[in-house]
């Protein structure tokens, strides 16, 4: 049977059903009697539909049709004809179905309005007598908008005339689209134009009649404008409510994005852990037939029986226990037990393991950073200049140095005269760890990009490598008894004879600069000093005027080496004599010198094209690495203490309440202004991916979107 025929029958059924349901008053009860048209059509249809296939097909077609209908927007239709026309029923029935209001809604309206009796909109008799200002009705709004409508029509005619006279053959559709925007604009304009009245005529006229009609006219117009005022007011209120709601939605969506991104990271971590574990099992061929942990225990017991015979088995079982470690990353609850088992393991292994061993052991998969940069960056959803997070009083005496791994990631800070490193979670804005071990102020630090580690250099001439995961665990355990013999400090480099002022490391090497006028290069794996560069012959005593360095910057004179950065065999140093030098680490010789700064260099960083340095001479200089020439220069009112940059932005801290941002793409400079009540000066800034963290002299840390 043909689809169309099926449809027509189905249509009949539905339309009759609908009219039976809706038009009880109109149709007598006969429709349900045996020989009524309804029954006849129904039975005919059912008979003809036949097999299951046709029913399914029909349903499919029908649902398609439905979907099409739903997508029809009432406003897109040019006329009612279009809107109500469909294949299934006649337009009257469709209309009835679409406009049917259930008794509940009608009743509900009564109840609603009873409770809001004061706002009863139809009580015009009362309203007029009492003279209280009530909101105007929709109809009044409609009437008021009519004159505007007419005027607009006239304008449109004029426009059309003009357009036609220009002889342009406009595509109708384009025309409509263009007009749409114009019309909104016109609409607002017309409110003004509708009030135009010739005042000169009034002052000249002596005819009472004319004035009377005019006054009526004006009164009417006044009436209209009053109503228009009402209508517009209401619209404004309506829109502001909508805006509020949209704002809320925007916020909640942002929050959702945040949690989703965190979940994503968490899951990725879990995945990498699983992969690691699988790799481990494959590597040592430890796969068991069953996953049941009890059996695993039994197996281990068996192994312990064989222990005496084969010493190899001991190792594997130990490794088994050791391998529980990765779990710590996933589940905090497990941390305690795992950490304890770790402690036990460490006790078992005890003192025959040297610290160097510990350093080497650190470089395994589990301490590798499994967090990758999220693909969607949350900070891009904020306006530049927004303060995202504030940590008050992070350090008693001001922030002395800091580093963070990624936006909304981990931040490490150290304060002046504060011998501990604090670790913060930038998303939750809470302290997650505290690491102590240095004997003096920590003057420089860097977070590892491959492993979850931090290297700090202190005034006590020591460099320390820290295990952040372990530190976090220990902090959660609230520094229990284990702490004393299980420190989060993995290794200490102790060869310098003066305070460490700058350090930098990549995957293999660590380079540190000290007040003893040496630069040392260390092997990160075996912890040994590979190379020492003596600067005393190179860097002469600086003759430039001493800049007034705040007390906060403890030393009365600037550091010998204010900043350095290494990359592979390349090393850049910024020293007290205002020179920036490029070294070849293989030869230990200077390959290029950038001259220009007239005072000590405090901060520098290079990428593949540029080297940017900030100095106490109140300037920031951008150097071209290939030609060795100065490519850009910024001069400020105060000494530059800290800079950081990437390809898009350069941020700098100059000891003021705000910090400077220079957009390298748009060539624009702006200031990221702190809130008025915060009068602390920003001395330190770190920046990554449009996300900056600043540290102030009162110990406040703030995170910004740049």
């Amino acid at each position: 049977m043909d689809d169309n025929e099926q449809f027509s029958q189905l249509r009949n059924v539905i339309s009759t059903t609908a009219s039976a349901l809706l038009g009880i008053e109109n149709l007598d009860k006969s429709i349900l009697s045996s020989n009524s048209r309804y029954k006849k059509i129904l039975s005919e249809t059912i008979k003809n539909l036949g097999g299951d296939d046709s029913l399914v097909k029909l349903r499919k077609n029908f649902s398609n049709l439905k979907r099409q209908e739903e997508s029809h927007d009432a406003y897109e239709r040019y006329s009612g004809d279009d809107y109500f026309r469909n294949q299934l029923t006649d337009s009257r029935t469709t209309f009835r179905v679409l406009t049917y209001l259930s008794d509940e809604i009608l009743k509900a309206s009564l109840d609603d309005e009873k409770s809001n009796h004061d706002q009863g909109l139809l009580e015009f008799t009362n309203e007029e007598e009492s003279g209280t200002k009530n909101t105007s009705s929709l109809f009044q709004g409609f009437e008021a908008s009519l004159p505007i409508l007419n005027e607009r029509l006239e304008n449109n005619d004029k426009n059309k005339y003009i357009k036609n006279s220009e002889g342009n053959d406009h595509n109708n559709n384009n025309d409509n689209n263009d007009d749409k925007n114009d019309k909104l604009f016109e609409f607002t304009n017309n409110y003004i134009s509708s009030v135009s009245i010739d005042t000169e005529k009034i002052s000249r006229s002596y005819s009472m009649k004319y004035l009377k009609t005019l006054s009526e006219d004006v009164l009417r117009k006044l009436n209209f404008t009053l109503i228009q005022e009402d209508v517009t007011k209401e619209e404004v209120e309506d829109l502001s409510i909508k805006l509020e709601r949209l704002k809320e939605r925007h916020q909640s969506a942002c929050k959702r994005l945040e949690t989703v991104e965190q979940d994503e990271l968490f899951l990725e971590n879990a995945l990498s852990l699983i992969k690691d574990r699988m790799k481990f099992i494959q590597e040592y061929d430890l796969e068991l037939e069953s996953n049941d942990p009890e059996i695993e225990d039994i197996n281990q017991n068996e192994k312990s029986y064989n222990e005496a015979k084969e010493s190899n088995d001991l190792n594997t079982s130990q490794q088994n226990v050791e391998d529980l470690k990765p779990n710590t990353f996933v589940n905090n609850d497990k941390d305690v037990t795992v950490a304890k088992s770790e402690a036990i393991v460490s006790k078992v292994k005890t003192k025959n393991q040297k610290t160097i061993n510990r350093l080497q052991r650190f470089y395994n998969e589990e301490n590798r950073k499994s967090r990758k940069l999220p693909t969607t960056l949350l900070q891009s959803h904020y306006e530049p200049g927004t303060n995202i997070a504030t940590i008050e009083k992070a350090h008693e005496n001001g922030v002395y140095c800091m580093d963070f791994d990624m936006p909304f990631g981990t931040l490490c800070t150290a304060g002046y005269l504060d011998h501990t490193v604090n670790v913060w979670d930038l998303t939750r804005k809470v302290k997650v760890a505290e690491m102590s071990g240095h004997l003096a102020t920590i003057q420089c630090m860097q977070l590892g990009s491959h492993y979850n580690m931090l290297i700090t250099g202190g005034k006590d001439a020591m460099l320390k490598i820290w295990d952040i995961n372990l530190a976090t665990q220990l902090y959660q355990e609230d520094q229990s008894s284990i702490e004393s013999d299980y420190n989060s400090c993995i290794h200490t480099f102790d060869s310098h004879s003066g305070g460490i002022t700058a350090l930098s490391f990549d995957s293999v090497h660590l380079v540190s600069a000290s007040q003893d006028k040496t630069i040392r290069q260390w092997d990160l794996v075996n912890g040994k000093c590979i190379q020492t560069i003596d600067l005393s012959s190179v860097v002469k005593q600086n003759q430039t005027d001493i800049v007034n360095i705040p007390d906060f910057y403890s030393s009365s004179e600037p550091f010998v080496t204010g900043s350095l950065q290494c990359f592979d065999a390349a090393l850049a140093t910024g020293t007290r004599d205002g020179l920036v030098r490029l070294w070849d680490m293989r030869s230990g010789k200077v390959v290029r010198t950038f001259m220009g700064h007239t005072n000590a260099v405090t901060s520098l960083k290079f990428d593949s094209y540029n080297l940017i340095s900030g100095s106490l001479d109140k300037s920031i200089r951008t150097w071209d690495l290939r030609t060795g020439s100065l490519s850009d220069l910024f001069a400020y009112d105060s000494p530059v203490y800290s800079i950081d940059f990437d390809s898009s932005n350069l941020v700098s801290a100059i000891g003021e309440t705000s910090f400077k941002v220079y957009n390298r793409k748009d060539d624009k400079q702006w200031e990221c202004v702190n809130s008025a009540e915060d009068t602390s000066s920003i001395y330190h800034v770190k920046y990554k991916n449009n996300y900056a963290v600043t540290g102030s002299n009162d110990g406040t840390i703030k995170a910004w979107v740049v």
């Binding site: 009612g80 809107y83 109500f84 609603d112 309005e113 929709l138 409508l149």
Partner: protein
């Protein structure tokens, strides 16, 4: 029309607007975002449709009015009035009667509703 009444009379519904006017009102609603357009714009278009000579246009108008009725409880009484007029106009007397009865039940002292009820009753 010297003074704008609070509510339209039945006659108002029989004075159609120009198709150009109707079109402008429709464009207004669309430019404000269809369903999310302001109440007044939507009403303007709906009422203009009700006033139209074309039965189906009036029906579409009533449909839009019912939407407004559903969405804004504060305008319900008013909308019921417009709906009554609209339904009366397109010949849906039973629907009109249903609406006006509820209106009357709520405001028995209202002259305009009384008059409308009588008209619908006939």
């Amino acid at each position: 029309m010297t003074k704008s009444d609070f509510l339209p009379t039945l006659e108002d519904a029989y004075q159609p607007l120009l198709t150009e006017q109707l079109d402008i009102l429709r464009q207004q609603v669309i430019s404000e975002g269809g369903d999310s357009a302001s109440l007044q714009s939507r009403f303007n278009y709906a009422w203009a449709l009700v006033k139209s000579h074309d039965v189906n246009n009036s029906r579409l108008g009533i449909k839009l009015l019912t939407d407004i009725y559903r969405e804004s409880p504060s305008r319900r009484r008013e909308c019921l009035y417009y709906l009554t007029i609209g339904c009366y106009k397109v010949g849906e007397y039973s629907m009109a009667k249903r609406y006006v009865d509820i209106l009357y039940e709520h405001e028995p002292n209202n002259l305009q509703i009384k008059a409308l009820k009588e008209m619908v009753g006939n």
